[in-house]
Symmetry: C2
Subunit: 424 residues, 2 copies
């Protein structure tokens, strides 16, 4: 078989088709050959191309807590009619590098593992590739943040949390840290001045200390430092001022999740189950990776099926209402859609996201479709475009841990789809 | 609160009520106090009384693979009628130490986490204690063996496996080991001469090497030896002769599972899902602990809910038929019920199990109820008594890792229940 490649920032990667995990035979055989095994301990399980297998199998590598779907039947999507899928496959668009593309061929170029399109609540397009299947949860990574912060904003709406309170009000452990004078709202919008780097390409970045503390990277013998999220967070030192600029840092979500747990007493997995998974009629249980003390990773630990992710997107499109029940207050969804201050977002330098803002851990486009997005670092995406009655759930396992690597394809593809559907 | 105690072999343990994990507060708090945390790394997560929490939370401590329940609705048990539960609670029996007991009071003395009684397929008694809930899977430990070997016997019936073949026929890796001249049937009936000790109270017993290889115990820095099941099994040396006596050794199941996987190509989790979980209409997904290479622990890694365990027992009572489909061949169930040679069983010295035999990893009583049992080391039990139309599924977390510790209560309790129901 011939192999194709993607080049990004001067590095060459196997392309989407050539890196299909079935083609590479990861974990096949009894036992698999040594060079086709994926083990947690060798710390390569999130390397590419292993990641194409791993993101559909996280639970087989790390401890997890279940997000129960409840006892009820799965909710049914309405039946799709017509030839929408074929139309979408042929959809043409120009990527941000000026290249003409077709929707169907672009899927592999974004290392897509699965994609589901809902229009007016009906599934009109659904595809699975590689290791993903309809009933298999896929790692959401930072889409987890949007789930968690939507619940946090709900708790604020209910008066359980006061978004203007400072963090030590709930967490005295955070006195004297970067968060001493930060408000919960600043945390939820990631406008925090904290010395914490999240450059995946830098092996010395703080993100790796955080991951080792959380048990999501091996801790080789002699590893010092925090051995749980709650030990790690109080080590964070200030850098810059709060409230002035958007700065994307996963520890903010972890801190928010800590507050939610301390105030409600409810584990995140239970809150997700009772407030979303069960009432949405999700088809399958989800799960969350947990740290060595059992604390789930609120900043990126969730795995869910594509259809259940789409249900959450559809809930947001319906302004929080689902079968006559208001699962998320309409005011919370409206607040997210309004976004925050694009000027503060602009200071973060996301050149591919002009005019965006970040609110309650959603990426808000402020575009003509009213689109807002939840984003995972390997191309996972939940795209809600109310003006086009559109929800797109996509899982991917892109070799480059940065949305900037797939946005040049993804953003214009979604925009083209939204425009097409808006005309209907 | 006053504390009660159990004494066994000169050691004193908190009794069933005093060791209730909710009472002890394991893993409660944000974070839990250090002495109420249960962590994999400190290797105390299977100690008592931690185990009372752990066996309902294994997935939060180790990597696991899902046993999918499928897309269909859960099968319904018929509604129970009458006042059976109250009658059962009052059931009197004499334990093997000569003490008069009542059913309800005996549950805590067996450290019961949950118990479900089916009579003619209808649930007539269902109780949950401590950390267990109806939708929460509990660790089955060696009940896993009975699931796995029932599937193996099915593969033999289907001609996929030949029980009279010797092990190296499928696993050349096992040439020169204890299994060089052993047949699959001898493995399935555990009549293998292998140097392997399974005395949980002995820290030098081979069972701990096996557990460390399988990732079910921590491997501290510098740990040598096998780091997966498939590396560990070929290290086993002969001791004694095959086919002469029953000798209970978990590695036999692991070896059998290896053969099943190599021959069918199907992972055990998938086989359990397709052949049992889905067609039985199980309510919840189950799961299996996996070793560092992703191989599930066929000898003890399964967790399932109490109701789903009961469904498997009911399938066996119905001779493998479920809603008109033969999920397990009737001949396989009949062969298990016939048992093997009690004389060979007697050589193993189980004084509490006179007249028993062991067949395809089921414990066969040869008693008047025709009872056969699947058994887990901390009191987990699946009891099928065809002559009384009875199935009992029980989860427990007994402090002593030996069925001998709870059999003096359990065996006469189940026999008394079976006798009562047979009169109906």
């Amino acid at each position: 078989m011939s192999e194709g490649f993607l080049e990004f920032d001067g590095v060459r990667y196997l392309d989407g088709q050539s890196s299909d995990p079935r083609r590479l035979g990861w974990m096949e055989g009894t036992p698999p050959p040594a060079d086709q095994q994926i083990r947690f301990a060798d710390d390569r399980f999130l390397d590419f191309p292993q990641i194409r297998w791993t993101l559909s199998h996280m639970r087989e590598l790390v401890p997890t807590v279940n997000v129960w779907r409840g006892d009820g039947p799965a909710s049914r999507f309405d039946e799709a009619g017509g030839s929408d899928a074929a139309t979408i496959d042929k959809l043409a668009f120009t990527d941000l590098d000026g290249r003409e593309r077709r929707w169907d061929a672009s899927l592999a170029d974004a290392y897509t593992d699965g994609i589901l399109v809902l229009h007016r609540g009906r599934p009109i397009y659904e595809r699975y590739f590689g290791a993903l299947q309809p009933h298999v949860p896929h790692s959401c990574f930072s889409i987890t943040k949007s789930y968690a912060a939507t619940l946090a904003a709900t708790l604020v709406h209910e008066g359980v949390l006061d978004a203007e309170q400072r963090i030590p009000h709930w967490l005295p452990e955070m006195r004297g840290t970067a968060y001493d004078d930060a408000t919960l709202r600043q945390v939820m919008d990631m406008q925090i001045g904290v010395a914490y780097s999240e450059i995946y390409a830098d092996p010395k970045a703080h993100i790796w200390d955080y991951a080792r503390a959380g048990g999501l990277r091996p801790r080789p013998a002699g590893t010092s430092g925090a051995a749980s999220f709650y030990e790690y967070l109080p080590t964070l030192r200030p850098e810059g001022r709060h409230g002035e600029a958007f700065a994307y840092k996963t520890v903010n979500t972890e801190l928010m999740a800590w507050i939610m747990k301390r105030v409600t007493g409810q584990p995140l997995a239970q809150m997700l189950s009772e407030r979303l998974w069960a009432p949405l009629g999700c088809e399958q249980d989800g799960y969350l990776g947990v740290d060595p003390t059992g604390v789930p990773m609120g900043g990126g630990g969730l795995s869910a099926t594509l259809r259940d992710l789409a249900r959450f997107g559809e809930l947001m499109r319906r302004e929080g209402e689902w079968n006559g029940r208001q699962l998320v207050p309409a005011a919370v969804v409206a607040d997210i859609r309004r976004g925050s201050d694009p000027a503060k977002f602009a200071r973060a330098g996301y050149t591919l996201l002009p005019g965006y803002s970040y609110r309650s851990m959603w990426w808000v486009s402020h575009n003509a479709l009213g689109a807002f997005e939840a984003r995972g670092i390997h191309g996972q995406r939940l795209y809600v475009a109310p003006a086009a009655d559109l929800v797109v759930a996509r899982f991917a396992s892109h070799p480059v841990a940065s949305s900037a690597a797939n946005d040049p394809i993804t953003l214009p593809a979604l925009l083209a789809l939204g425009r097409m559907l808006r005309e209907r």
